[in-house]
Protein backbone atom coordinates (compact mmCIF):
# COMPACT_ATOMS: atom_id res chain seq x y z
CA UNK A 1 0.00 0.00 0.00
CA UNK A 2 1.31 3.42 -0.88
CA UNK A 3 1.60 6.27 1.57
CA UNK A 4 0.46 9.86 1.03
CA UNK A 5 3.98 10.87 0.14
CA UNK A 6 3.98 8.29 -2.64
CA UNK A 7 0.79 9.73 -4.12
CA UNK A 8 2.14 13.25 -4.01
CA UNK A 9 5.27 12.02 -5.76
CA UNK A 10 3.07 10.21 -8.31
CA UNK A 11 1.33 13.46 -9.19
CA UNK A 12 4.67 15.20 -9.57
CA UNK A 13 5.96 12.48 -11.86
CA UNK A 14 2.79 12.46 -13.96
CA UNK A 15 3.09 16.19 -14.42
CA UNK A 16 6.74 16.05 -15.31
CA UNK A 17 6.20 13.18 -17.75
CA UNK A 18 3.33 14.94 -19.49
CA UNK A 19 5.42 18.07 -19.81
CA UNK A 20 8.63 16.33 -20.82
CA UNK A 21 6.94 14.20 -23.47
CA UNK A 22 5.01 17.01 -25.11
CA UNK A 23 7.17 20.10 -24.66
CA UNK A 24 10.74 20.93 -25.53
CA UNK A 25 12.22 22.09 -22.23
CA UNK A 26 15.88 22.25 -23.21
CA UNK A 27 15.60 25.74 -24.66
CA UNK A 28 18.19 27.85 -22.88
CA UNK A 29 17.59 31.38 -21.64
CA UNK A 30 21.19 32.21 -22.45
CA UNK A 31 20.41 31.51 -26.12
CA UNK A 32 17.91 34.37 -26.02
CA UNK A 33 20.51 36.71 -24.54
CA UNK A 34 23.07 35.76 -27.17
CA UNK A 35 20.55 36.17 -30.01
CA UNK A 36 19.74 39.61 -28.64
CA UNK A 37 23.41 40.58 -28.52
CA UNK A 38 23.97 39.42 -32.11
CA UNK A 39 20.93 41.37 -33.27
CA UNK A 40 22.03 44.55 -31.50
CA UNK A 41 25.59 44.28 -32.85
CA UNK A 42 24.13 43.75 -36.32
CA UNK A 43 21.94 46.81 -35.95
CA UNK A 44 24.93 48.88 -34.87
CA UNK A 45 26.98 47.69 -37.83
CA UNK A 46 24.19 48.52 -40.24
CA UNK A 47 23.71 51.91 -38.65
CA UNK A 48 27.36 52.94 -38.31
CA UNK A 49 29.22 51.17 -41.07
CA UNK A 50 26.64 51.13 -43.81
CA UNK A 51 24.86 54.25 -42.65
CA UNK A 52 21.75 52.50 -43.78
CA UNK A 53 18.19 52.98 -42.71
CA UNK A 54 15.78 51.00 -44.88
CA UNK A 55 12.89 53.28 -43.97
CA UNK A 56 14.50 56.12 -45.87
CA UNK A 57 15.59 54.07 -48.81
CA UNK A 58 12.33 52.46 -49.81
CA UNK A 59 13.43 51.49 -53.28
CA UNK A 60 17.09 50.54 -53.38
CA UNK A 61 18.58 51.03 -56.82
CA UNK A 62 19.15 47.96 -58.86
CA UNK A 63 22.63 49.12 -59.81
CA UNK A 64 25.51 50.88 -58.17
CA UNK A 65 26.63 51.42 -54.60
CA UNK A 66 23.28 51.34 -52.83
CA UNK A 67 22.42 47.97 -54.35
CA UNK A 68 25.73 46.57 -53.16
CA UNK A 69 25.29 48.00 -49.68
CA UNK A 70 21.84 46.48 -49.61
CA UNK A 71 23.06 42.99 -50.46
CA UNK A 72 25.72 43.35 -47.77
CA UNK A 73 23.01 44.21 -45.24
CA UNK A 74 21.09 41.11 -46.34
CA UNK A 75 24.25 39.01 -45.88
CA UNK A 76 24.70 40.49 -42.42
CA UNK A 77 21.10 39.57 -41.58
CA UNK A 78 21.65 35.99 -42.69
CA UNK A 79 24.87 35.82 -40.64
CA UNK A 80 23.02 36.99 -37.53
CA UNK A 81 20.31 34.40 -38.14
CA UNK A 82 22.83 31.56 -38.54
CA UNK A 83 24.77 32.67 -35.44
CA UNK A 84 21.61 32.94 -33.32
CA UNK A 85 20.17 29.60 -34.43
CA UNK A 86 23.57 27.90 -34.07
CA UNK A 87 24.06 29.26 -30.56
CA UNK A 88 20.53 28.26 -29.55
CA UNK A 89 21.09 24.73 -30.85
CA UNK A 90 24.45 24.40 -29.14
CA UNK A 91 23.15 25.68 -25.77
CA UNK A 92 20.02 23.52 -25.96
CA UNK A 93 22.16 20.53 -26.78
CA UNK A 94 24.32 21.25 -23.75
CA UNK A 95 21.31 21.74 -21.49
CA UNK A 96 19.71 18.50 -22.71
CA UNK A 97 22.83 16.42 -22.20
CA UNK A 98 23.31 17.89 -18.74
CA UNK A 99 19.79 16.74 -17.88
CA UNK A 100 20.57 13.34 -19.38
CA UNK A 101 18.06 13.77 -22.16
CA UNK A 102 18.24 13.52 -25.88
CA UNK A 103 18.35 16.87 -27.64
CA UNK A 104 16.62 15.77 -30.82
CA UNK A 105 13.49 14.09 -29.48
CA UNK A 106 9.85 14.04 -30.54
CA UNK A 107 9.13 17.31 -28.69
CA UNK A 108 12.06 19.06 -30.41
CA UNK A 109 10.85 17.87 -33.80
CA UNK A 110 7.36 19.19 -33.15
CA UNK A 111 8.74 22.53 -31.98
CA UNK A 112 10.87 22.92 -35.09
CA UNK A 113 8.06 21.97 -37.49
CA UNK A 114 5.63 24.36 -35.85
CA UNK A 115 8.12 27.20 -36.01
CA UNK A 116 9.23 26.36 -39.53
CA UNK A 117 5.86 26.78 -41.23
CA UNK A 118 5.33 30.48 -40.40
CA UNK A 119 9.05 31.18 -40.72
CA UNK A 120 9.42 29.68 -44.18
CA UNK A 121 6.28 31.45 -45.36
CA UNK A 122 7.68 34.67 -43.88
CA UNK A 123 11.06 34.14 -45.50
CA UNK A 124 9.42 33.77 -48.91
CA UNK A 125 7.39 36.95 -48.31
CA UNK A 126 10.62 38.81 -47.47
CA UNK A 127 12.23 37.59 -50.70
CA UNK A 128 9.19 38.75 -52.65
CA UNK A 129 9.37 42.19 -50.98
CA UNK A 130 13.08 42.47 -51.83
CA UNK A 131 12.53 41.38 -55.42
CA UNK A 132 9.81 44.02 -55.82
CA UNK A 133 12.00 46.75 -54.34
CA UNK A 134 10.01 46.99 -51.10
CA UNK A 135 13.06 46.56 -48.88
CA UNK A 136 11.64 48.81 -46.16
CA UNK A 137 8.90 46.29 -45.47
CA UNK A 138 11.31 43.45 -44.77
CA UNK A 139 12.42 44.43 -41.25
CA UNK A 140 8.98 44.83 -39.66
CA UNK A 141 7.66 41.82 -41.61
CA UNK A 142 10.44 39.63 -40.26
CA UNK A 143 9.37 40.61 -36.73
CA UNK A 144 5.75 39.85 -37.56
CA UNK A 145 6.43 36.37 -38.95
CA UNK A 146 8.89 35.58 -36.18
CA UNK A 147 6.23 36.52 -33.65
CA UNK A 148 3.68 34.28 -35.37
CA UNK A 149 6.19 31.42 -35.36
CA UNK A 150 6.85 31.88 -31.63
CA UNK A 151 3.16 32.06 -30.84
CA UNK A 152 2.55 28.87 -32.79
CA UNK A 153 5.53 27.08 -31.22
CA UNK A 154 4.70 28.06 -27.65
CA UNK A 155 2.40 25.05 -27.26
CA UNK A 156 5.46 22.86 -27.59
CA UNK A 157 7.90 24.61 -25.27
CA UNK A 158 7.86 27.08 -22.36
CA UNK A 159 4.58 29.00 -22.05
CA UNK A 160 6.45 32.30 -21.83
CA UNK A 161 7.34 31.99 -25.51
CA UNK A 162 3.72 32.88 -26.26
CA UNK A 163 3.95 36.34 -24.69
CA UNK A 164 7.27 36.88 -26.44
CA UNK A 165 5.54 36.01 -29.72
CA UNK A 166 2.65 38.40 -29.11
CA UNK A 167 4.99 41.29 -28.32
CA UNK A 168 7.03 40.56 -31.48
CA UNK A 169 3.81 40.58 -33.54
CA UNK A 170 2.83 43.96 -32.05
CA UNK A 171 6.30 45.39 -32.71
CA UNK A 172 6.16 44.08 -36.28
CA UNK A 173 2.80 45.70 -36.92
CA UNK A 174 3.96 48.95 -35.32
CA UNK A 175 7.06 48.80 -37.52
CA UNK A 176 4.88 48.47 -40.61
CA UNK A 177 2.90 51.56 -39.60
CA UNK A 178 5.92 53.67 -38.62
CA UNK A 179 8.07 52.37 -41.42
CA UNK A 180 10.80 54.99 -41.01
CA UNK A 181 11.64 53.45 -37.63
CA UNK A 182 11.86 49.93 -39.04
CA UNK A 183 15.42 49.36 -37.88
CA UNK A 184 14.60 50.68 -34.41
CA UNK A 185 11.65 48.31 -33.97
CA UNK A 186 13.76 45.49 -35.31
CA UNK A 187 16.51 46.19 -32.77
CA UNK A 188 13.89 46.44 -30.04
CA UNK A 189 12.27 43.10 -30.96
CA UNK A 190 15.22 40.94 -31.90
CA UNK A 191 17.73 42.67 -29.63
CA UNK A 192 16.37 44.11 -26.41
CA UNK A 193 13.35 41.82 -26.11
CA UNK A 194 15.44 38.67 -26.59
CA UNK A 195 17.85 39.78 -23.91
CA UNK A 196 15.06 40.58 -21.43
CA UNK A 197 13.35 37.28 -22.21
CA UNK A 198 16.60 35.31 -21.92
CA UNK A 199 17.54 36.85 -18.57
CA UNK A 200 14.03 36.26 -17.23
CA UNK A 201 14.03 32.60 -18.33
CA UNK A 202 17.52 32.06 -16.97
CA UNK A 203 16.59 33.35 -13.52
CA UNK A 204 13.24 31.60 -13.53
CA UNK A 205 14.24 28.11 -14.66
CA UNK A 206 17.96 27.67 -14.74
CA UNK A 207 19.18 28.48 -11.29
Amino acid sequence: MKSDQDYIRDIGEMRSMMERSSRFMSLSGLAGVMAGIYALSGTLIVFKVFDYNPGVNIQPGRRGASSQAFSEVVMLGITILVLAVGTAMYLSFRKASKAGEKFWNAAARRLVINMAVPLVAGGIVLLIFISKGLAALTLPSSLLFYGLALYNASKFTYEEVRSLGIIQIILGLAGLVFIQYGLLFWALGFGILHIIYGVYMHYRYER
Binding site: Y7, D10, M14, R15, M17, M18, R20, S21, N105
Partner: protein, 103 residues
Amino acid sequence: MKTVVHNFHKAFESTIRLGIMSALAANDTVDFNSLKEYLSLTDGNLATHLKALEKEGFIDLKKSFIGRKPNTKYFMTKAGRKAFDDHLKALEKLITRRSGKGN
Protein backbone atom coordinates in the same frame (compact mmCIF):
# COMPACT_ATOMS: atom_id res chain seq x y z
CA MET B 1 -2.54 6.44 9.48
CA LYS B 2 -5.82 5.45 7.86
CA THR B 3 -5.57 5.23 4.14
CA VAL B 4 -8.66 6.06 2.15
CA VAL B 5 -8.21 4.55 -1.25
CA HIS B 6 -10.82 4.08 -3.86
CA ASN B 7 -10.86 4.48 -7.61
CA PHE B 8 -7.21 3.48 -7.67
CA HIS B 9 -6.73 1.00 -10.43
CA LYS B 10 -4.03 -1.54 -9.76
CA ALA B 11 -2.45 -0.78 -13.12
CA PHE B 12 -1.52 2.63 -11.71
CA GLU B 13 0.26 1.23 -8.68
CA SER B 14 3.42 1.02 -10.78
CA THR B 15 5.21 4.31 -11.26
CA ILE B 16 6.41 3.18 -14.67
CA ARG B 17 2.91 2.39 -15.93
CA LEU B 18 1.71 5.69 -14.57
CA GLY B 19 4.56 7.33 -16.48
CA ILE B 20 3.59 5.57 -19.71
CA MET B 21 -0.03 6.64 -19.29
CA SER B 22 1.01 10.24 -18.56
CA ALA B 23 3.12 10.43 -21.70
CA LEU B 24 0.26 9.01 -23.77
CA ALA B 25 -2.24 11.37 -22.11
CA ALA B 26 -0.22 14.39 -23.22
CA ASN B 27 0.37 13.22 -26.81
CA ASP B 28 -1.74 11.73 -29.59
CA THR B 29 0.79 8.96 -30.10
CA VAL B 30 4.21 8.14 -28.66
CA ASP B 31 6.61 5.69 -30.26
CA PHE B 32 8.41 2.92 -28.44
CA ASN B 33 11.84 4.54 -28.55
CA SER B 34 10.59 7.84 -27.15
CA LEU B 35 8.91 6.04 -24.25
CA LYS B 36 12.12 4.16 -23.65
CA GLU B 37 14.03 7.42 -23.49
CA TYR B 38 11.53 9.21 -21.22
CA LEU B 39 11.45 6.36 -18.72
CA SER B 40 15.07 5.18 -19.10
CA LEU B 41 14.05 1.54 -19.45
CA THR B 42 15.39 -1.43 -21.34
CA ASP B 43 13.44 -2.77 -24.33
CA GLY B 44 12.28 -5.86 -22.49
CA ASN B 45 11.21 -4.04 -19.36
CA LEU B 46 9.22 -1.44 -21.27
CA ALA B 47 7.62 -4.10 -23.46
CA THR B 48 6.39 -5.96 -20.37
CA HIS B 49 4.73 -2.85 -18.95
CA LEU B 50 3.20 -1.97 -22.32
CA LYS B 51 1.83 -5.51 -22.69
CA ALA B 52 0.19 -5.26 -19.28
CA LEU B 53 -1.48 -1.95 -20.11
CA GLU B 54 -2.54 -3.32 -23.47
CA LYS B 55 -4.13 -6.30 -21.76
CA GLU B 56 -6.11 -3.91 -19.54
CA GLY B 57 -7.40 -2.30 -22.71
CA PHE B 58 -5.91 1.07 -21.67
CA ILE B 59 -3.58 1.45 -24.62
CA ASP B 60 -3.38 0.26 -28.18
CA LEU B 61 -0.68 0.30 -30.82
CA LYS B 62 -0.11 0.98 -34.48
CA LYS B 63 2.72 -0.75 -36.28
CA SER B 64 4.37 0.82 -39.26
CA PHE B 65 7.73 1.05 -40.94
CA ILE B 66 10.13 3.95 -41.30
CA GLY B 67 12.22 2.77 -44.22
CA ARG B 68 12.92 -0.79 -43.18
CA LYS B 69 12.89 -0.17 -39.45
CA PRO B 70 9.70 -1.14 -37.64
CA ASN B 71 8.13 1.72 -35.73
CA THR B 72 5.47 1.05 -33.11
CA LYS B 73 3.30 3.91 -31.97
CA TYR B 74 1.24 3.69 -28.83
CA PHE B 75 -1.88 5.62 -27.98
CA MET B 76 -4.50 5.71 -25.25
CA THR B 77 -7.83 4.01 -25.75
CA LYS B 78 -11.07 5.60 -24.56
CA ALA B 79 -11.10 3.21 -21.60
CA GLY B 80 -7.51 4.21 -20.82
CA ARG B 81 -8.35 7.90 -20.94
CA LYS B 82 -11.25 7.38 -18.56
CA ALA B 83 -9.19 5.29 -16.15
CA PHE B 84 -6.40 7.89 -16.22
CA ASP B 85 -8.81 10.77 -15.59
CA ASP B 86 -10.50 8.86 -12.76
CA HIS B 87 -7.12 8.15 -11.23
CA LEU B 88 -6.16 11.82 -11.42
CA LYS B 89 -9.46 12.84 -9.82
CA ALA B 90 -9.00 10.31 -7.03
CA LEU B 91 -5.49 11.59 -6.39
CA GLU B 92 -6.72 15.16 -6.34
CA LYS B 93 -9.46 14.29 -3.86
CA LEU B 94 -6.97 12.54 -1.66
CA ILE B 95 -4.59 15.50 -1.65
CA THR B 96 -7.26 18.14 -1.00
CA ARG B 97 -8.70 16.06 1.85
CA ARG B 98 -5.25 15.74 3.39
CA SER B 99 -4.31 19.37 3.03
CA GLY B 100 -7.76 20.35 4.33
CA LYS B 101 -7.04 18.39 7.48
CA GLY B 102 -3.75 20.18 7.91
CA ASN B 103 -5.38 23.59 8.25
